[in-house]
């Protein structure tokens, strides 16, 4: 069995560019959810989102999502210190949902309203696969390449798929993560579903009213352990296991018993050879919708019993960054192991009695944790759990 380690991290988050900026924001329990500036919000109930602050690095001719992706992916590869030949053979697995939709919307809005048309090239990166094509070209990656769309768990699913390529011996190194920019369709859709809180979201709070959406990108360099050791790489943590399941229940709602979520967590535990009692921290999907948090808590209780482990929700600070969420939250989980500090759940004032866990309200906590999980769930009942081990 080939062990897989994390040897590079990259993030562009609503706190700004860079992993350090991301962690500093999480550690401080800061909130990056603010009034939307990128799109017209007139007439909508919620007018907040967690946007990545400008100016963005990279060419303005690229889509916003491509620029977020490139910033995070480049940081992860540089952090890993890979040689050019190792990069060339690396796999690239990208979780994506919106692709270049923000720019394509501009084209379509103009076409419908009869305004001046943006140049046709703005349509080119419309598909989610555009990120992988751009990253592969710019970063000279010629290994296996895939774009995975599992809605809000896309980033985590990409990390799990990349780990499989290493475990199967196809590659020794993989760059995996997710990216998404705010889009009109996403913002309007979640408004239409009445899933957005007009105030910054409050995961696990009894008074929570829904989620906040966000944008960003997160990438991890995964590496076969002996390969990383041989080249003297810095190892952040081991990706000890992953579990992916499907509810096959409803297009948007999770299974009411949390069955698929619990199966994903148990599959990750089994893959890692770890018992539930060894898990010290779970970075929850924690969207702050009344339904998701209640059902995730139910699934956690089914796997771990009530009361432990520690649980917190990164989305309380950076919103739900869609395809990037699973990757950014995986990075937060890895850093919690490395820094021996669990990031908090912001805005958690009145814990929901239906969530029988210590959700690390408000302030980060110093805790040495040996194993931690990151949960990601998406529309279509797409559940992914990543399990990391301290090294």
């Amino acid at each position: 069995m080939r062990r897989i380690v994390v040897s590079g991290l990259g993030a562009v988050s609503p706190f700004g560019a860079g992993v350090k900026t991301y962690w500093d924001g999480l550690d401080a329990g800061a909130c990056a959810i603010r009034p939307v500036t990128l799109i017209d919000t007139a007439g909508f109930r919620c007018r907040l989102a967690a946007e990545v602050p400008g100016p963005l690095a990279g060419s303005a001719r690229r889509s916003r999502a491509d620029r977020l992706a490139l910033g995070a992916a480049r940081e992860a590869l540089d952090d890993a210190g890979l040689a050019a030949a190792e990069r060339r053979d690396a796999a690239l697995v990208v979780g994506a949902v919106g692709g270049g939709m923000l720019e394509a919307e501009g084209w379509y809005w103009a076409r419908r309203r009869g305004g001046p048309m943006p140049v046709a090239g703005t349509l080119r990166p419309i598909l989610p696969s555009a990120h992988a094509e751009m990253l592969g070209h710019r970063l000279h990656l010629e290994g296996p390449r895939a774009t995975i769309v599992t809605a809000c768990s896309s980033g985590a699913a990409a990390v799990a798929a990349a780990a499989e390529l290493i475990a199967d011996g196809v590659v020794s190194v993989a760059l995996a993560g997710g990216a998404d920019a705010l889009t009109r369709i996403c913002y309007m859709g979640f408004n239409a579903l009445k899933l957005l809180d007009p105030a910054p979201c409050r995961p696990f709070d009894r008074e929570r009213k829904g989620m906040s959406i966000g944008e960003g990108a997160g990438f991890l360099v995964l590496e076969e352990a002996s390969h990383a050791v041989a080249r003297g790489a810095r190892i952040y943590a081991e990706l000890a296991g992953a579990g992916s399941t499907t509810d096959a229940f409803h297009v948007t709602a999770p299974h009411p018993d949390g069955d698929g979520m619990a199966r994903a967590m148990r599959a990750a535990l089994a893959a890692a050879g770890v018992t539930p009692s060894e898990i010290g921290y779970v970075n929850a999907h924690g969207t702050a919708t009344p339904q998701n948090d209640r059902i995730e808590a139910r699934a956690l209780a089914a796997v771990f019993g009530e009361g432990r482990p520690l649980v917190s929700a990164t989305k309380s600070m950076i919103g739900h960054t869609m395809a990037a969420a699973g990757a950014l939250e995986a990075i937060a989980t890895v850093l919690a192991l490395v820094r021996e500090r669990v990031p908090p759940t912001a805005h958690l004032v009145t814990p929901d009695p239906d969530v029988p866990f210590d959700c690390v309200a408000g302030t980060a906590r110093d805790v040495v944790v040996d194993h931690a999980m990151s949960n990601s769930f998406g529309f279509g009942g797409q559940n992914v759990t990543l399990l990391f081990r301290r090294t």
Binding site: L123, G136, P144, T147, V149, G378, G380, Q382
Partner: protein
């Protein structure tokens, strides 16, 4: 590969046919040199293949996906369940629903945004509808790629079975031919010959298939996917294919043993030339009979999976379907000979599968 991977069921729906492996075999055997080519699947015919609720609720690509997946599972005699996975390849997703959602807002403002349409704007909507319809509760993935999404989905699923992570996976592709989608693609200079439809294969480990007395239609002996250097949406210059070499290596097969070829030729002249160069450099194209089937149903993600199903038929029938305009050359090769299914996309994503006859 720890486990041998067999194809035990096929289901397809496209403008030319709907059905299982038997229907596909009969269609392939009867293909003439210039097949008639309807452009779109008949909506009324599609509705009759679903129950009333599904026909009312599901978008067109979701309907295609569900119909095709059910046909494949029925062909294989396999039920859904906790151990059945799904891998869906798609190039365009449900773009029509995205456009309709946007039209709602542009026509009526915020009150025009439909909460029912919104989930369809996410590209995994076909996977969601299909897992619900067939009860597939293991891993479910949607892979997005230009040109090769269907082949990539089959290769990905075969890899998961070969490694022992999954016992049974529905794998294939689905795309819809939509007028605005075609307009957007033409703005971008897309010259491919497009179509629509969905095709799924049931892939199983040979042990799993044998234990339940399933009938194997063919074996996927090797799979690999890599990237060739190219600009986004561009055609590259490099022709050295590590994907073909790796797939052949897994299959323990020399290039000279590959008797026939299904390529991803789709009428995009620059891309087609690039693929021919890659296949020549891999020692495959020259002197091999080859087809792409694009002329018969048009390029879409389902066609990638249909090529793999057709390849399994070719190993049994000992010939390629009649389509001499697309053939590179050569004659019938006899049953049992292995062949290659190959896909190469603008941007460089690149897939190779070696398909052989069913295990004895």
């Amino acid at each position: 590969m720890k486990h041998r991977v067999v194809i035990t069921g096929v289901g397809t729906i496209n403008p030319a046919l709907h059905g299982d492996s038997t229907a596909i075999a009969s269609w392939l055997a009867g293909l003439g040199p210039r097949p008639e080519r309807p452009r779109r699947i008949d909506d009324r015919a599609l509705e009759t293949l679903l129950d009333g609720t599904e026909a009312r609720r599901l978008s067109r690509p979701c309907r295609m996906s569900v119909v095709s997946a059910r046909a494949a599972l029925a062909d294989a005699g396999l039920p859904g369940g906790d151990s059945l996975g799904l891998v869906v390849g798609t190039e365009m997703g449900d773009l029509r629903s995205t456009i309709e959602f946007a039209d709602g807002y542009l026509g009526s403002g915020p009150s025009g945004c439909s909460p029912l349409l919104f989930p369809n704007t996410v590209m995994n909507t076909m996977a969601a509808a299909t897992t619900i319809a067939v009860g597939a509760r293991a891993l479910s993935l949607t892979l997005n790629a230009p040109t090769v999404a269907g082949e990539l989905a089959v290769a990905y699923a075969a890899g998961a079975i070969a490694a022992g992570r999954m016992d049974a996976v529905l794998a294939g592709g689905v795309d819809e031919l939509d007028a605005l989608c075609a307009e957007m693609l033409s703005v971008l200079g897309d010259r491919g010959d497009r179509g629509e439809g969905a095709t799924y294969l049931v892939l199983e480990s040979w042990e799993h298939a044998r234990a339940r007395d399933a009938r194997p239609l063919g074996e996927i002996r090797g799979t690999a996917w890599r990237a060739l250097v190219a600009r986004p949406h561009g055609v590259g210059r490099g022709v050295t294919s590590r994907a073909v070499a790796s797939a052949l290596g897994q299959a323990r097969c020399a290039p000279s043993e590959i008797a026939w070829l299904y390529s991803s030729a789709n009428g995009d002249v620059a891309r087609d030339r690039w693929e021919q160069g890659v296949l020549r450099a891999a020692g495959i194209a020259r002197g091999r009979p080859g087809v792409s089937l694009t002329e018969t149903v048009g390029h879409h993600a389902g066609l990638g999976a249909l090529r793999v199903a057709a390849a399994a038929w070719s190993t049994r029938a000992g010939r390629l379907p009649g389509d001499p305009l697309e053939r590179v050359g050569g004659d019938a090769f006899g049953p049992g000979a292995p062949g290659l299914v190959h896909g190469l996309a603008r941007g460089g994503t690149h897939v190779a599968l070696v398909v052989g006859p069913p295990p004895a």
